[in-house]
């Protein structure tokens, strides 16, 4: 059951809590991993790459928040947030610090 504005058939509290946690915490994790990856692949000085990554981090966070409330089944929602986060973190780890 997706979250909709048909409040008569409101989403269960458990679902809302899960999506909120996924957005706030999972989204932050994704934003962090994606930003670190960005900092590491940008062909710039360490300072410039990091500063660009910090500027972009809030956009990554925003995307994750929207996504957490968009995806239909809850199990898929978790996967859709955590899998990209893990992939970014792994790639960033592989790329190593600039």
């Amino acid at each position: 059951m997706s979250v909709t504005s048909r409040t008569q058939a409101a989403a269960s509290p458990l679902e809302i809590i899960q999506r909120t946690v996924a957005a706030a915490v999972g989204g932050y994790g994704f934003a962090w991993a994606a930003s670190v990856l960005l900092a590491r692949i940008l062909p710039l000085t360490r300072y410039e790459a990091t500063q660009w990554a910090v500027l972009a981090s809030f956009l990554f966070y925003l995307l994750a928040i929207l996504w957490a409330f968009r995806v239909r089944p809850l199990t898929r929602m978790w996967g859709d947030i955590l899998a990209p986060a893990a992939a970014c973190a792994a790639l960033a780890w592989w790329a190593g610090p600039t």
Partner: protein
């Protein structure tokens, strides 16, 4: 766009907006006041002369340095800001003693001096406009860190609410021209949309750039992943950021040497920047062989890159004129975002626009909160949750403005010699706000709106009168002297008072008429928008 997507975004917009809207309303209102911070500071210190004497910056600087020589001859740093312009209308000083043997920071002093005599100037103890401005990112009564994180979290939700607002608002341009007054909750929806769309660029800029101010705190782990997790490693990032622009000031040599005369140095500054162009003169290690004098330009740029000159404090030779410095692109971008957020560069017209855009943002949030109840009244009226939201809305949308008016009343009515007076002024704001919240909880909702709008009308509308009864800096004096920054505070309060009066009158008449303003059956935001 798929309908399901817009629906889930609408859900996020509605509930995120509702739950954090009350904090965001506070942040937007106090932040908007921040755009007239300097004018309020002036208004809240009526002891200041009505018309400031004209003095040359060089003369005022000499007075300031002489005062610090007398007051703190052994210092690590003297800083004197000469009077000039809106941001710094006064002769200001700051000094810091060398660190104590145990490494603790030395004593610091700061205050204002009379620009003609160089003696200490005393004003009433007040938080001024500055305190309201600080509340918009630190809140109040909370540890600074807690306030900053709460505001940061709310700002992120605001960002999401703006973007989801655009997504669910599919016909954004068509609805731009849609306003249907008197059509039930739809006029609230139209107002909310109009306020949102009209100043959407401002809202997006202010929200994203708001996050930028503390991005190194909020996103510290991103920096840590690149630079290391220890505090010392974190500082390397800051050092690299200011590379070339840093205050590369050596420590004291421990060898006494007289400070170079300021006059030739100020002549050189004037030659480069033109007359009366100094924000402050920052003297490091005065009286030491390693003395350095840094002069900052008084102009304000959107990029926050105003320019500075660095002189040797003993020989008076120019060390650095900033010519060789080129900031990296991302630093220019983030500094520009901060500069746009603060709007310090804005002249009178642009400043009014900033103020209006801020008010529109505040009104957008307020109308969104009210819209939530309007749309659900038919279905949910009588439930506890609905009543709670309705009362909280009233306590915020009317109660907080009454609180800010109370802040100004307290500035005029509290005894001038009251201990911790500035803190009492702030307490007055929150006490009045709390009283409004209690009132909202006790009275029937419809009556409470009329009554609180009436209270707000009186609270703002009477400020010019209170001012006239307690000081001689009233409209009669300020207008006659052409002191528009002072008069504008009184006049703006008067306009707010009349605005609240008009709203109170409108609600009163509508309730009296008892014309069916019943809500339409509940609809989704999409249906209403289409």
């Amino acid at each position: 766009m798929k309908e399901g997507f817009r629906q889930s975004m609408s859900w996020l917009h509605t509930w995120g907006g509702l739950l954090l809207g009350w904090v965001l309303f506070f942040v937007f209102l106090t932040g908007t006041v921040g755009y007239v911070e300097a004018e309020l500071d002036r208004w809240m210190r009526p002891e200041k002369p009505l018309v400031a004497a004209e003095v040359a910056q060089a003369d005022a600087l000499a007075l300031g340095v002489a005062y610090l020589e007398r007051t703190m001859p052994q210092a690590k740093r003297w800083l004197v800001g000469p009077p000039g312009g809106r941001e710094q209308p006064e002769l200001r000083y700051f000094a810091e003693a060398p660190a104590k043997p145990d490494g603790a920071r030395g004593k610091r002093i700061n205050g204002y001096l009379d620009r003609q005599t160089g003696e200490k100037a005393e004003y009433r103890d007040t938080g001024g406009g500055r305190l309201l401005y600080r509340m918009h990112y630190q809140l109040h009564y909370l540890p600074r860190i807690a306030g900053e994180w709460i505001v940061g979290f709310c700002t992120m939700v605001m960002f999401a609410a703006l973007v989801t607002g655009v997504i669910i608002h599919a016909r954004i341009f068509k609805d731009f021209f849609t306003f249907r007054p008197g059509a039930g909750h739809r006029n609230w929806l139209d107002a909310h949309n109009l306020l949102g769309v009209l100043s959407l660029p401002f809202h997006l800029m202010i929200t994203y750039s708001g996050l930028m101010f503390l991005c190194y705190v909020y996103m510290a782990p991103v920096i840590a992943a690149e630079y290391g997790w220890s505090k010392k490693e974190g500082r390397v990032f800051v050092e690299e950021m200011f590379l070339g622009g840093a205050d590369t000031v050596p420590g004291p040599a421990g060898v006494a040497a007289p400070l170079t005369p300021l006059a030739p140095l100020l002549a050189e500054v004037q030659h480069r920047w033109g007359p009366e162009s100094i924000r402050f003169v920052d003297i490091r290690n005065p009286g030491d062989a390693n003395a350095v004098i840094i002069v900052r330009n008084a102009r304000h740029m959107p990029s926050r890159d105003e320019g500075r000159l660095v002189f040797n404090g003993v020989t008076g030779g120019l060390i650095d004129d900033g010519g060789a410095r080129a900031n990296p692109a991302p630093q220019v971008l983030s500094a520009t975002l901060l500069g746009l957020h603060e709007g310090l560069f804005a002249g009178p017209v642009l400043r009014w626009l900033y103020f209006l855009a801020g008010l529109m943002g505040t009104a957008m949030i307020g109308s969104g909160l009210i819209l939530w109840t309007k749309k659900r009244r038919a279905r949910l009226e009588g439930r506890f949750g609905f009543a709670l939201v309705e009362r909280l809305n009233l306590a915020t949308v009317c109660g907080l403005p009454v609180g800010t008016a109370a802040y100004l009343w307290a500035n005029r009515l509290l005894p001038v010699d009251l201990g911790s007076r500035a803190a009492w002024e702030a307490d007055a704001l929150f006490l009045a706000w709390a009283a409004m919240a209690v009132h909202a909880g006790l009275r029937p909702a419809a009556r409470a709106w009329v009554e609180q709008c009436g209270i707000a009308a009186a609270a703002f509308g009477l400020i010019p009168l209170v001012n006239a009864l307690t000081t001689d800096r009233h409209l009669g004096a300020s207008l006659a002297a052409g002191q528009w920054d002072l008069a504008a505070v009184d006049l703006t309060c008067l306009v707010f008072g009349l605005g609240f009066l008009a709203v109170a009158w409108r609600i009163h008449r509508r309730d009296r008429g008892a014309v069916a303003d019943r809500e339409m059956p509940s609809t989704t935001i999409q249906e209403a928008a289409e």
